[in-house]
């Protein structure tokens, strides 16, 4: 008998950016690598079925990119529109006070929507990292939401067969992001009202925002806005981008358990993990294997039994049952 997770198995992808140079405030990790090297590494990664490509970095030669992906037999989970770029749009992208900057963001993201359509990829995702504020009185929040609504609508309406996904995150690099939680981002996309505008749920961002990831996924799915899922882990204090389940073991299992029940099936989960000084191929291979293991634990949950336990709402009984599945 196939479980839901096995039957409607989601594929796993690598975000190409994490196979090259990564830095933080204090350290640098990994050499810079060409997109060709990154793709070859992804193809060597155990359990990797595809890539999430980063725009503009990976798109210097789109034709060569497409043929490399095809030759390596990789799928494409999504195109990631980077709205933070050194020296560009530093005071906001979608919500910038500068009409020229907003227009540049709209034009560039429309270009990527067109590329996605040509490539047969139905998803463009963006984490609006530049849109937010450090200090109080730095931002007119109402105007920021208005600007962002108009800009996202302009991109979404440009290419209706591609879904545009906003990846929320509570903070970093700004002390406060404009799109900081599942609820706030859902309210925003509902307010904009474009059918192809939705939300990317990065499980680590949900944890860093103090959310219970399965609950956030349910809320987004309930509204038909759970467009994309990214996996990783952290301790809730900051977005450490660690492999799924190394810290938040049970919450990750609960999340993997609910995903197919919310209709997120036969789709992609991309992994957002910083390998630091370790070999990225090894880190992602281990993460994919480990997450499939977590899925197999989740798939042992018997729906009838769990429904009874949830109705009874006796957490000690439920935990005993969960331990029995390990």
């Amino acid at each position: 008998m196939h479980t839901l997770i096995e039957k409607y198995r989601n594929k796993y992808a690598v975000i190409t950016g994490f196979y090259g140079r990564q830095g933080n405030r204090f350290m640098e990790y990994q050499p810079q690598r060409s997109i060709a090297e990154k793709l070859q590494m992804a193809a060597r990664t155990t359990g990797c079925e595809g890539v999430e490509l980063c725009y503009p970095d990976d798109f210097a030669d789109p034709a060569a990119l497409r043929s490399m992906i095809k030759d390596l037999g990789l799928g494409v989970s999504a195109l990631n529109f980077r709205s933070r770029r050194p020296g560009q749009w530093m005071r906001g992208a979608w919500a910038s006070e500068s009409a020229a900057d907003r227009q540049a963001v709209i034009d560039d993201c429309r270009r990527l929507m067109d590329i996605a359509s040509e490539m047969g990829v139905d998803r463009v995702t963006n984490c609006p990292l530049n849109d937010g504020a450090d200090m109080v009185f730095e931002m007119d929040y109402q105007r920021a939401y208005d600007h962002a609504a108009a800009a996202f609508e302009a991109v979404a309406s440009h290419q209706k067969n591609v879904r545009l996904c906003i990846e929320y995150k509570p903070n970093e690099p700004r002390a406060r992001s404009l799109f900081d939680t599942a609820g706030g981002t859902l309210a925003f996309v509902q307010m904009v009202g474009s059918a192809n505008l939705g939300v990317t749920l990065d499980i680590g961002h949900a944890l860093a925002a103090g959310e219970r990831p399965a609950q956030s996924a349910a809320l987004l799915a309930r509204a038909g806005k759970l467009f994309y899922v990214q996996l990783n882990d952290n301790d809730g204090a900051f977005d450490w981008d660690l492999p799924p389940g190394v810290l938040r073991f049970w919450e990750t299992i609960e999340f993997l358990h609910v995903l197919p029940r919310l209709g997120y099936v036969n789709d992609w989960c991309s992994f957002d993990i910083v390998p630091k000084e370790f070999d990225p191929v090894m880190v992602y291979s281990n993460s994919f294997t480990g997450t499939r293991k977590l899925e197999s634990i989740a798939s042992r949950i018997d729906d009838v039994r769990m429904a009874e336990l949830v109705r009874a709402r006796n957490p000690t009984e439920t935990m005993a049952y969960l331990f029995s599945l390990l």
């Binding site: 990564q22 830095g23 933080n24 405030r25 204090f26 350290m27 640098e28 933070r84 770029r85 050194p86 020296g87 530093m90 005071r91 990292l129 450090d134 200090m135 109080v136 509570p170 903070n171 970093e172 690099p173 002390a175 406060r176 860093a208 952290n234 301790d235 809730g236 204090a237 900051f238 450490w240 660690l242 190394v246 810290l247 630091k276 000084e277």
Partner: protein
């Protein structure tokens, strides 16, 4: 006038990075010192060892020319070449030896410049994963390394800067209690704390309480001034821009415990210039101090901690905030 001297951490006057972007151009040590000298309110500069001290004679003449004092030598022990798997706590003896010798060199450099303060933030000593560290062994190494550095010379103080996390999900020296533990275990008078107010907020402390604890044990050697949202991110924001009342309580406490050292700005300038960020930070701290003076320091001390006095205390704060003396400062 407050009882403190103000200085800047020179690294914030050059190129800064976060995970996603870069801010500010790279600047030479000469340019950094010139910019700090031009920043209103600052009389000192904290420099990094070994990077800023490639030519000590040049540093000496730059400081002289700009009439700046060296506040502290900040020894960097997170360099990935040596300390990828820890520095003071590393399992490899070579890494521990390197960290200890860097600290000793930094202490000698401080003495050469006629000051008695070395600061270090042991950011390489931490972990991301469970099972990544044998904690009992790592802590033994950590304390032994601090002792080996500190015994090098008793005329220079070694200020340890705690920080709860970053770049690792957990840093060993993560809160005020652990600093005090290290000080007690090492048992040398010249080991103490560089108390970074933002790190204290990140560690979910009330900095006034932490500063009082450190001062009571004679371990409050140095203060780094900044602020953040208290949720985990060490945003290095302008002091008092988030935790306004906590900052005022901290200043009151620093004065009460007799701290008369440096208040060193540790502010991330991002896209606005470092001189603007540091000048504003200095002005904000002085304005908060002036508010305690307007309130009346004796009156504030009398009401603080007095059972049932909280309503009266905040009533008087409300009146103080509207007093002419403070509004005059705000517009000056």
């Amino acid at each position: 006038m407050s009882p403190w001297k103000y200085c800047a951490n020179a690294s914030f006057y050059g190129l800064r990075r976060d995970r996603f972007t870069e801010y500010q151009p790279a600047r030479s040590v000469a340019d950094k010192i010139a910019l700090i000298a031009a920043t209103p309110g600052l009389s000192g500069v904290e420099l990094k060892y070994p990077f800023d001290f490639a030519d000590p004679a040049l540093v000496r003449s730059l400081l002289q020319d700009h009439q700046l004092t060296l506040s502290a030598v900040n020894v960097d022990i997170k360099d990935a070449t040596y300390f990828r798997d820890g520095a003071l706590s590393a399992s490899k003896v070579e890494a521990r030896d390197k960290a200890v010798s860097l600290l000793r060199e930094g202490m000698d450099m401080a003495a050469e410049f006629g000051i008695d303060l070395v600061s270090t933030c042991p950011l390489a000593d931490g972990h991301d994963y469970p099972f990544q560290t044998q904690h009992q062994i790592a802590w033994e190494h950590f304390i032994e390394s601090v002792r080996r550095a500190a015994v090098h010379r008793s005329d220079v103080r070694l200020a340890l800067e705690f920080q709860p996390h970053e770049p690792h999900a957990r840093i060993m020296l993560s809160n005020v209690g652990k600093v005090l533990y290290v000080c007690q275990k090492v048992g040398l008078a010249n080991v103490g704390a560089n108390f970074d107010v933002g790190h204290s907020f990140c560690a979910r402390e009330n900095p006034a309480e932490s500063a009082a604890l450190l001062a009571t044990e004679n371990r409050l050697f140095y203060v780094h001034s900044n602020d953040n949202t208290g949720e985990g991110g060490d945003w290095d924001m302008i002091s008092g821009s988030v935790h306004f009342w906590h900052w005022i309580e901290l200043l009151m406490t620093l004065d009460a415990v007799g701290y008369r050292g440096w208040i060193g700005g540790d502010i991330m300038p991002k896209v606005f210039g470092p001189d603007e960020a540091y000048a504003t930070n200095h002005r904000m701290v002085e304005m908060m101090w002036t508010l305690t003076e307007s309130f009346g320091r004796e009156r504030l001390a009398e009401l603080t901690g007095k059972p049932g006095a909280i309503p009266a205390l905040f009533q008087q704060w409300t009146e103080t905030l509207r007093a002419p003396s403070t509004s005059a400062i705000a517009t000056s």
